[in-house]
């Protein structure tokens, strides 16, 4: 006969424990030995589900069994690569964000389970899309929305250079988990993201940041908050041009000629043509003929949209997309299991048409958009932002902005602007 005794609960409140035999170790040895002597029967301590899960992860990574709760990961044969493998597995399993030296500081299953429980306790109060990056600090939280890859990794890099008193929360994409369905439009996502934000900060003013594909999402969040009568104290967009209204025109025009009334895919030749145009326009940024031509197209495009408009805001039922070869080439650099999500976010961004925003915005730009917004340092955002729009040029390019040394400079510029907003005094 086996008795089960509860050890100090280390897990999430209410979490069930699993009856699993483990090797006794540390302080529990004395207690169980005494009880065994008293009863003459074997006592097996009970493990929590988190401890059991962690035990399985250890067993898989270290390829050993017979691990006790207080065994040291490195004395079980783990090396630095194993430690990081374990760390990323724990992060994935529990959707929490941990520092790279966590396994060194918490080398036993018991201490890791306790840390996980602590993080989950905090997370339990948050929406499932919230990924806390830094939860400590007296300043108002900064909410950072995922770029095109759906994850918040860039903001973790950024957070390392921000004020220690600055809490930072990432908002990951729905669809990151295999069981989730990605949102069909930026508007739909923004509605959910606002609910997510409110599980951390109930009322405004809010502080929002979005890089690359995340920029239209934070813009839309600010728009919806404004519509609900709530204030955004800081809306920061990083290195993304405003959507070109020509996409909406293309959508409207092709719908007219499409038998199914669905917009046609953007042909590969158009995409690759724009790629070439980009190379040329970077070499000739001040070509007045090109600048005038873009302005003329933009004006006629606006007029045409007003005539043809059947939907003032993007309609997820009839999205524009790229030809499949273009789409595949754009998502090829992402891991296979991440591609459906990336494809969905790209589609949402391509189909997004912003409405006017009457608040203020800070735009952190690495340089001009010579193709779609030549001669416009706001890269198109000036057409939509009716409050003050400040453009801050930052060094680096779109690809290395979050790498050393540019990330630190970007963080300094963001912090400067945050300090000027409500709640930071």
């Amino acid at each position: 006969m086996i008795f089960f005794i509860d050890e100090t609960p280390k897990d999430v409140p209410g979490e069930a424990t699993e009856k699993k035999e483990i090797k006794k170790s540390g302080d529990s040895i004395n207690l169980t030995n005494q009880l065994e002597k008293m009863t003459g029967q074997e006592i097996v301590p009970r493990m929590t589900l988190t401890e059991t899960k962690l035990l399985h992860l250890w067993e898989e990574i270290l390829e050993i069994h017979d691990i006790a709760l207080d065994d040291d990961f490195f004395l079980c044969g783990g090396n630095s690569l194993d430690a990081i493998s374990l760390l990323v597995r724990i992060q994935r399993e529990y959707q929490i964000s941990l520092a790279a030296d966590t396994i060194y500081r918490y080398p036993t299953i018991r201490s890791q389970a306790s840390l996980v429980a602590e993080n989950i306790n905090k997370l339990n109060n948050y929406h499932r899309l919230i990924v806390p990056i830094s939860q400590v600090g007296r300043l108002p939280p900064l909410f950072c929305v995922h770029p095109i890859d759906g994850w918040i990794g860039h903001y973790r890099d950024l957070s390392a250079f921000l004020n220690r008193e600055q809490p930072v929360y990432g908002i990951r994409a729905q669809g990151w988990e295999p069981t989730e369905t990605p949102f069909q439009s930026i508007q739909e996502a923004a509605r959910e993201y606002i609910l997510a934000i409110k599980t951390v900060q109930k009322t405004g003013p809010y502080h929002l940041l979005g890089f690359s594909g995340g920029a239209p999402y934070v813009y839309e969040i600010a728009l919806q908050l404004e519509k609900n009568g709530e204030k955004t104290a800081f809306l920061g967009l990083i290195d993304t041009s405003a959507p070109a209204p020509e996409v909406q025109t293309y959508k409207n025009v092709t719908r007219l000629f499409s038998p199914s009334k669905q917009p046609m895919k953007i042909p590969s030749v158009v995409y690759w043509g724009f790629k070439r145009l980009k190379t040329w326009s970077i070499a000739h940024p001040d070509n007045m003929i090109y600048v005038s031509l873009v302005r003329l197209i933009r004006t006629s495009s606006g007029t045409l949209n007003r005539v043809l408009v059947s939907e003032s805001h993007s309609n997820p039922e009839s999205p524009v997309s790229f030809a499949s070869d273009v789409e595949e080439s754009r998502i090829a650099r992402f891991p296979e299991n991440q591609r459906p999500l990336v494809r969905s976010i790209m589609k949402n961004v391509l189909n997004y048409t912003p409405l006017d925003y009457s608040g203020d915005m800070i735009f952190f730009s690495t340089g001009p958009d010579t193709v779609f917004h030549p001669g416009d340092p706001t890269r198109g955002w000036g057409n939509y932002v009716k409050g003050s729009l400040i453009v801050i040029t930052v060094p680096g390019d779109h690809g290395n902005l979050f790498s050393s040394p540019y990330c630190k400079i970007l963080a300094e510029k963001i912090e400067e602007r945050l300090l000027m907003t409500d709640g930071y005094q």
Binding site: I64, D66, I67, D71, D72, L75, C76, G77, N79, S80, L81, A83, I84, S85, L87, V88, R89, Q91, R92, A99, A100, D101, Y104, W151, G153, H154, D157, A160, R333, P335, G399, N400, F402, S403, S404, P405
Partner: protein, 261 residues
């Protein structure tokens, strides 16, 4: 005790200087040690096994205690072998009996040769896999060495995402698919070596951006790398030190060694 036989029979000894690496045949004494060079020793545990009885007598009581704490007997054996062979190699350099060699841990956790205040400028770094152990030795500058097995199965994309910079990830992506796993391990071991050399912890891994120096060819030379607030000048040498293994040595050239550690 004649341990020179072990060195001759089992270990590979290479000398790395900027632009060249060659097997050593000459002197193994610090008096003849060129300040610009790094000596690297590598050995497979399998070839040391028969010397276990001898090597196990060389470890300190603390090391014996640590060895006993390993979960797997293989880990205990490997730990004992590498601590023993470390003393044999260092003993050759200073012409002392290996059992007289004392290794102490500095505040930073780095090991240091302790011999009545002598040889305080000697720096070494030990790294191992479950098959091999590698040792790098240099004078007057901090050193970090890392060896990895390039056939490990690990969650590459997630680790890349977590610890590699955008530039490093891009560099891996632009290489041929069959090369990517090796490139991952090259960057990983390079970063590990840099962190060891500077006494930094794992949280600095993403800070050590090597995307600006990594090339298709193995690195061998002087490189400048920004690590956090500081710019470091490193002598870096990569080598393929055995089937399925990759090794990187980095020695920090603009940082004077810190005896307090």
């Amino acid at each position: 005790m004649d341990t020179s036989k072990i060195l001759q029979q089992c270990l590979h000894h290479h000398i790395h200087t900027s632009g060249s690496s060659y097997p050593s045949t000459g002197s193994m004494r610090f008096q003849d040690f060129s300040p610009d060079s790094i000596h690297m020793w590598s050995v497979r545990y399998a070839s040391l096994d028969r010397y276990f009885p001898l090597l196990s007598t060389l470890v300190s009581p603390e090391e014996e205690h640590k060895a006993a704490g390993f979960k797997k007997s293989d880990d205990t054996r490997r730990y004992t072998l590498r601590q023993g062979i470390l003393r044999v190699i260092l003993g050759q350099y200073i012409q002392e009996d290996p059992e007289k060699i004392q290794i102490v841990r500095k505040k930073s956790g780095k090991p240091e040769l302790h011999l009545d205040g002598r040889y305080s400028d000697v720096r070494f770094s030990l790294s191992h896999t479950d098959e091999m152990v590698c040792l790098g030795i240099t004078l007057s500058c901090e050193i970090g060495l890392d060896i990895v097995k390039t056939n490990s199965s690990i969650p590459f994309p997630e680790i890349e995402h977590y610890l590699f910079t955008v530039g490093e990830r891009r560099w891996i992506e632009q290489t041929l698919p069959e090369q990517r796993s090796l490139q991952f391990f090259r960057i990983w071991s390079l970063k590990e070596a840099l962190l060891k050399a500077t006494g930094s912890d794992a949280t600095m891994m993403k800070e050590a951006d090597v995307s600006g120096i990594i090339t298709e060819r193995f690195l061998n030379g002087f490189y400048t790398i920004q690590l956090g607030e500081k710019e470091f000048q490193f002598f870096i040498c990569e080598s393929d030190c055995g089937e399925g293994h990759h090794c990187v040595i980095a020695s920090c050239r603009n940082e004077k060694i810190n005896p307090e550690g």
